[in-house]
Amino acid sequence: MTERIDLPSAPAAPDEPAATDRWERLDRRTLAVNAVYATGVAIAAGTGAVTRGGIQLWLVLLGAVVLIGGWVALDLLRWMKTRYRITGERFELHTGLLFRTRRSIPTERIRSVDAIANPVQRVFGVTVVKIGTGEKAGKDDEIKLDVVARQTGDALRGTLLRRARQVQSAPAASQEAGQAPPDEPAGDAENALARIDWAWIRYAPLTLSSVLGIGVVFGVVYKPLELLGLNPFQMGLVREAIVEFEAHPLWVSISVLAGAALVLGVLGSLVLFVEAWWRFRLTHENTEGTETFRVRRGLLTTRSLTLERRRLRGVEVAEPMLLRWGGGARTYAVATGMSEENKSIERTDTLLPPTPRAVSDRVAAEVLGSDVPDVTGSEAAGSEATGAGASPTSAVRLESHPRAALRRRMVWSLAPIVAFAAVLAGLGGVFDWFPGWAWWAALALLPVAAPFARDAYRNLGHGLTERYLVTRSGTGVRRTVALQRSGVLGWTVRQSLLQRRAGLATVTATTAAGHGAYHVRDVGIEAGLVFAERAVPDLLTPFLERPDHLEDRHAH
């Protein structure tokens, strides 16, 4: 819980004794940054107003001045009212114009310090610093310094995370931190786990960004033109093209449009990839005993994510269908204290760009620590030449689930289609205006859906390594999650009536990290229980019934 300590009255800070505990302000350049924002908005709005006509120029200029002045004045107030300091054990932040918020966070709770700078901020040499605690913070609870000088940001990162480590003395440090192999020499060290390989850009069109890409290209081209009062749809060239379209049969027009969308999508996705992954590197740092992973990337907006190893609970390898067909995968950290509100476009826990599956597995292995024994012998991991251990996400031979799970998937994907077809057939029987062939068309979906159901079944799997439990499921997006066994906070076993009759259950590990719950879907009930019992020793054991009580494994 983020502690908010409401002090009775704002203590006049400067006369507090310790010099290191001085109250700091944000960087003054925030005014310049905001002036640029305001000017941008003013120009955009002003141009629109002028080109549309009807408003006199002096009025527009006056409006612009008021807008910019007001904006900057507000920011000045914000700047004056915002102060922060680091005392021995706490990070304190006072903000707010009308509603004063005073936050006091124990430094031991600070789990991440991220620096993000957009192009404007980079020009002025400043950056936004976001401080993450282990909480699922709402939007208003985000702790953000907007903005500080770049050097200050770096210094803050060092200070806060180091203090977090010092305060968090040995006993509270989680088990895995102690187990982590000392593959780094003592002292400061930085070690690149991955750098951008521009060959990976071939995966960009296979990700969601190709859909977004259309929007991006459209937005980049269309919006500014529209603001200038030039609607492309009313311009000669486009007009002619539209006329041309209407002259041809529908299917020609549609395929040309689809082709154009495809090209736009691919182009846009390449642009997005370059923007997001420019100068990407994932490094492992060992600063005075604090092990952190750092992701730095970005062309226009630079992102820097710092993640402490002790927050890491596992890795998720996600393969959206297209990417999977192309042999690629995305890699995410499963860590505590990542805010849940991952915007759909860009997740904050991204470790790698879309990469070949092998790279994903190698990085997963290095991030998770290479002490995982190769369980299956040679098949999966033998090819890794890096010398790192096998990744839990690839090396374990996952147990497949009972055939009943396949039946279940078939029923769930086919039954709705059959029902839909039946409704269409019924409508066709009752109303004569309703096309009689419609239900045949619906039935044609069956052979399309069946392979997906089959794929979904084939992707089900679970397994254990020495320190991780691994679960896989999904067809649209196949997710393979390796979750630290010591990070499991509890189990939920779910069984519907239908699942009970099929002898299946969904076994869920709850955890403080990532999505909060990771499922082993439709596993055979017995296999699922045994899996849960072995993954977290002693937790489930007292609640299990075995017909054979002679077999008591916990008798010493």
Partner: protein, 184 residues
């Protein structure tokens, strides 16, 4: 704990122990039932939903009588289904609902169509809450919720006698306080 991590991992996850015993491994029901008054509490809750639904359906029928001549059939079917749910669900839930608190863990079973068994170890419990809604108070009942650091990990025991719930919260708080660590 140690004996597990030192085991060879080769056979893990392959159902070896179950095969060795030759029988079925299953979850035993938790030891305690909830208070029988919970049936009435849940019935009351369902009525709060059922009465407006039934009323709404019949009102709709009355207004559309001219258009839909067989509307009353649909309304009758809805009414019967809703009444069946109101009668069945609380009793079924009561039959399923069980809870148990040991020195090591909280263990519950809930649900009706879909059953859920939940286990959380004491060492991972961050918060213990005791909540009583107005309807629960009417029946002298109370809910106890234990929360872990997982966003999906809260375990709720509903329909406990409220004196019992108070003692339980006290016991849980004592036990969880005795265990060090930040429970993540």
């Amino acid at each position: 704990m140690t004996e597990w991590t030192t085991q060879p991992t080769g056979s893990i996850g392959q159902g070896a122990p179950a095969a060795a015993t030759g029988g079925t491994v299953r979850l035993r029901p938790p030891r305690h039932r909830v208070d029988p008054r919970a049936i009435w509490w849940w019935t009351t809750q369902w009525l709060g939903l059922a009465v407006p639904v039934i009323a709404g359906v019949w009102i709709a029928v009355a207004f559309t009588a001219g258009v839909l001549s067989y509307g009353w059939l649909i309304a009758l079917a809805v009414t019967l289904v809703v009444i069946a749910v109101v009668l069945v669900e609380p009793r079924w839930s009561y039959a399923v609902s069980r809870w148990e608190v040991t020195d090591e863990a909280v263990y519950t079973r809930t649900g009706w169509f879909v059953r859920r068994w939940r286990v959380a170890p004491m060492s991972r419990i961050q918060r213990v809450d005791n909540a009583r809604g107005p309807v629960q108070r009417l029946f002298g009942l109370s809910s106890v919720t234990v929360t872990t650091a997982s966003s999906a990990g809260a375990i709720s025991i509903d329909g406990l006698d409220h004196e019992l719930a108070r003692d339980l919260v006290e016991q849980l708080t004592r036990t969880t306080h005795a265990i060090p660590g930040d429970a993540t």
